[in-house]
Symmetry: C3
Subunit: 314 residues, 3 copies
């Protein structure tokens, strides 16, 4: 594996998920692989799970980790070619990516969507600039339009909790006070399209994800109907793709409740976290036995670890 | 030892202090104990000594350390049960503590008092939430009402500088321009109550510490009288407990001076640091031979190390 | 080597550069040297290269590294002797340096010029305070008036790209929207004065560096003339020394262009980075084969590593 910045970088998902599950049993089995290898993690945005789980994954592999909040600890970066840099940006990504490549064996980057201009975000300027200018592999810790490590952790979690050969998996939009990126939803949809599941996406009208992501996947505007016989319910807020970055609704009727979960086939409840309790989902759901959100977070370690191991040549 | 979040968590103080003194002689003696163990340190507030000494302690034990400024690097946390999270907090401590537990073998937390509401602080919501929801041991790096690692370093320092079987130990309030928590003073009082010392607490009227902390310990409002024949003088500012969080006085007559120290039994001068020179204490005292503040800071390493070693099962 | 805070701390430059070039071939050759040794890096200012390359260097030597943004993660420090600390500073460098010395085997400090008062900056209060009060060696990661690790990396880079026995090396001022310190220029001049090169410094009138730094080195106000037959062109902006900290000109006629580089003896282009593209230097220069700025950044690792190895007694 050269880079892992999108779900499409996975060539054999089954094998990858299986390897992750093996690593989970014996986390230090490949501790020699990363000896004298350095992972540099560059954060343009906050992180809890991603930061800790990716560092833990690297430690399991015997790597050394250097973590930087690049915008505050380092310099504001410029991403435009040919720009006359007389404003706030002190360094061009051309130099930054080349330079950091000399100190790192793998560079991991978190750079959220700006949610101002759809085209800018969907061009993935930041992560693509790192891929273009770096001389070492790039790992996405969530980019403008995707969160592939989260999606891999989700795939591992579904695999572990599978009770039927072809489960019904529902991705449901949920309300949230702030405008959030589509990254998690996008990567989850792409991951499910690679798995043997019946995917249903449900959200209010206006919250359609990019048609380039959704493709032939089923969209159901009636949440109740979507939940029927579901085996997995994945809740996530995202801001509008068409009316780009807008919060069109904070309708609590879309909050996932215990009552709604009863309509499912004893579905597992999933969310990538952080989650706003009693806005996105009721306490009663998160605190129930069928919530697997903590397992998902745990699997972030093994998703990152299996990907890093492949990047290091395992 | 399961958690170390208050002085009361110590069952055998003498043995703990003795072990710390042994570790100080051979800091790497237990380097195998922490192999493949991770300490995650979460800071809600600034730190110099605590951050560095606790990391150093963990390194001595062979642990790996991940440090996070959780509010700025991560997400704002919610601590109220049942809240509808539509404001600034993006994640509930329920999830955060459970999730971090999966990446850590020990979680260390620094969360200062807010000094707005006495009951809120003295309920110790933050540290208690971590204890409640985490599945790994919790180490306090100073909580709202206590700083037990500092108090243990103080106990070690007193033990090392002891010249009489039952020394007179004076905790004196000192002026400070800002409102500070009572945490250090509280834990110091509790620690001294566990030791064979004659404790005297001195402060202006209105600065009484919580009666639940002070218990039967002697309070002397006349600082001069308190200093007479003292073997140790521990200076510390705290804001009022009764008029909660208020600065009632910045009276420089309470500043510890060389002249005042002359009334003691050649007392050692102690302070937890950071200290405001010539406000809390004169240069002449801090720069004297009888100041042991640097030793105290050094003992922070061995306090943390002995506690971590006990948590890891030594 | 006791400390490395200025170019003058180097006693045998040739041997140091040669050792660095050897380490570059076998970075982990001295990995046993730093076992159980800790480097604490204290940043008062942002850093990308310095932070990462110094940590990488320490890792090559088997050291453990603790990095702190001291102003934000720790406490605001006081540097004045005898001050009554009732303002923003919560801790005096006297305590901070002594305390950190107990947790570190080497302390590295980055503290930029304030550019408010020439005398204050040129007295080097911050780095000198650390030297004075610390009990372990001090490494400068750029101080108010010098950047000796950068200058050492520059010396290594010139040595590697040398094509004539006594090359012509031109340090040229270049425009920049913000007032920058003279540190890099100062240390580069001092380093070149130690090497067998023909140094020419070129800048607009008013941008003269300190006469204590420049000494007998040639200053040429005509940039075109300075570039003639140059073997190395080092571009760098600095604010005025005489009209201290002022931006007297942002004249783009001083920007280094491909056309200007054609007047040289196929000179290598150097810059310490970060660099503002198309302000300090044209894209055409930075993206050319004769730009060695990325090599320079790489050599930061080996500059730091050779210095740390000498400090550790290699």
């Amino acid at each position: 594996m050269k880079n892992y910045t999108r779900v499409a970088d996975i060539t054999n998902l089954n094998e990858l998920v299986q390897s992750a599950i093996e690593l989970k049993k014996e986390p230090y089995a490949l501790q020699a692989l990363g000896k004298n290898k350095t992972l540099v993690m560059l954060f343009f945005n906050p992180s809890l799970r991603t930061r800790l789980s990716t560092e833990k994954a690297a430690l399991h592999l015997g790597m050394h980790v250097i973590t930087m909040n690049i915008s505050s600890d380092g310099w504001i970066l410029e991403f435009e070619d040919g720009s006359i840099m007389e404003n706030t940006a002190a360094e061009h990504v051309k130099e930054a990516a080349q330079v950091v490549s000399q100190y790192a064996d793998v560079i991991a980057v978190r750079a959220f969507a700006q949610l101002k201009n759809q085209q800018d975000d969907y061009e993935e300027k930041v992560i693509k600039a790192f891929i273009k200018y770096a001389s070492v592999p790039i790992l996405s810790l969530e980019s403008a339009t995707g969160h592939p490590l989260q999606a891999l952790a989700d795939a591992i979690t579904i695999k572990e909790h599978l009770s039927s050969p072809k489960p019904k998996v529902v991705l449901t939009w949920a309300p949230h006070p702030k405008a959030l990126p589509q990254a998690v939803a996008n990567s989850f949809v792409e991951m499910m399209q690679k798995m043997d599941v019946e995917l249903v996406i449900t959200h209010p009208k206006g919250y359609e994800l990019s048609p380039d992501i959704v493709k032939e996947s089923r969209v159901e505007y009636d949440q109740d109907k979507a939940f029927e016989q579901a085996d997995f319910v994945y809740a996530k807020n995202w801001s509008a793709f068409e009316s780009y970055g807008k919060v069109l609704s904070v309708d609590r009727n879309w909050t996932v409740t215990a009552a709604k979960m009863e309509k499912t086939n004893s579905a597992k409840f999933m969310h990538c976290l952080p989650v706003r309790r009693n806005v996105v989902v009721e306490d009663a759901v998160l605190d129930s036995d069928y919530s697997v959100v903590i397992d998902q977070a745990n699997n972030r370690t093994y998703a990152a670890q299996v990907v890093l191991s492949k990047i290091l040549g395992a």
